[in-house]
Symmetry: C2
Subunit: 186 residues, 2 copies
Amino acid sequence: MKEELSIFYRIFTTTKDAIEKFMNMLDPVIQNAKDDHERLYYHHIYEEEEQRLSRLVELIPLISKFEKEKDEKIFSPAKNEFNRLLQELNLEKYGLHNFVEHLDLALFQFTDEERSSLLKQMRDVSYQDYQQVKEMLNKINERFDHDYVDPHAHHDEHHDHLAPPGYSLIIKQSNKKKGFTVGSLI
Amino acid sequence: MKEELSIFYRIFTTTKDAIEKFMNMLDPVIQNAKDDHERLYYHHIYEEEEQRLSRLVELIPLISKFEKEKDEKIFSPAKNEFNRLLQELNLEKYGLHNFVEHLDLALFQFTDEERSSLLKQMRDVSYQDYQQVKEMLNKINERFDHDYVDPHAHHDEHHDHLAPPGYSLIIKQSNKKKGFTVGSLI
């Protein structure tokens, strides 16, 4: 668990830094938006990342605290704080997933060399980090066999539409499935 | 607390139903998207709402369980499950906030009578519900004086840019503040 905590620490510290860079990029775009629609669009993404940033400000010290823990018994689903850590990590897995999509959306519009190269670089790192977090959490959730049920598990089971390239095809195919229960869009 | 739980139950059951209606509206738009950008845009919003729906599927029975609780002592921050309930409610306050913005974004694009009237109706209900959740949680958090620190509190303190009309002006003004620490965009 210690080794995984150290990787989580690195990943969430990195993404916290990336959020700040992304927010800095969005700020002038919001200020200079050509109309209300454009302004709301970028402001909305800005706020979602701001919410994630605020959660990470709480999560990172929690990871750090567990990383320093000498008593291995603390890594047990019977311990409430450890359970909370696992729940937060599972939530931030989706935070990373959504961040990759925010970056992809920005890449469609910020096509100048300076912004697109920064966005691409953050996109690549975030995508790799998302994959690693997903894999580690699968193993941890399996290992502890605790009562946490990942409410989004269906999302990861069948495909990974973030994987470049050709994701649009996968999205198209997945949309052929009809009926709007949870999980209809795999 | 019982009375508040019954209001939370009504609000989150209502918004769960609204998410499903909204996802049904987005589905054909994703399928018939004119390009990858448009497809990713709607698919991204769809997924964020799908994530929220999955969380509500867990939260609603938890609210219901506490609503039926006979022992008032359970409503204490010393009880871990009650703490978890408060944390989830605080998270879903932002889920509702983001939903209002998703509906506002959709209103810019789905301008036909049928969709826009459904969107407006859901927007009005969701906005009222968001305000009520915010107010109730402020009171609850105050009353219990527990150690929960709302990581987004700064967001609510100074303004409510969701309030129609004229929110764009408020956003413009708030963006005049520079420096990208947490909370720079109030």
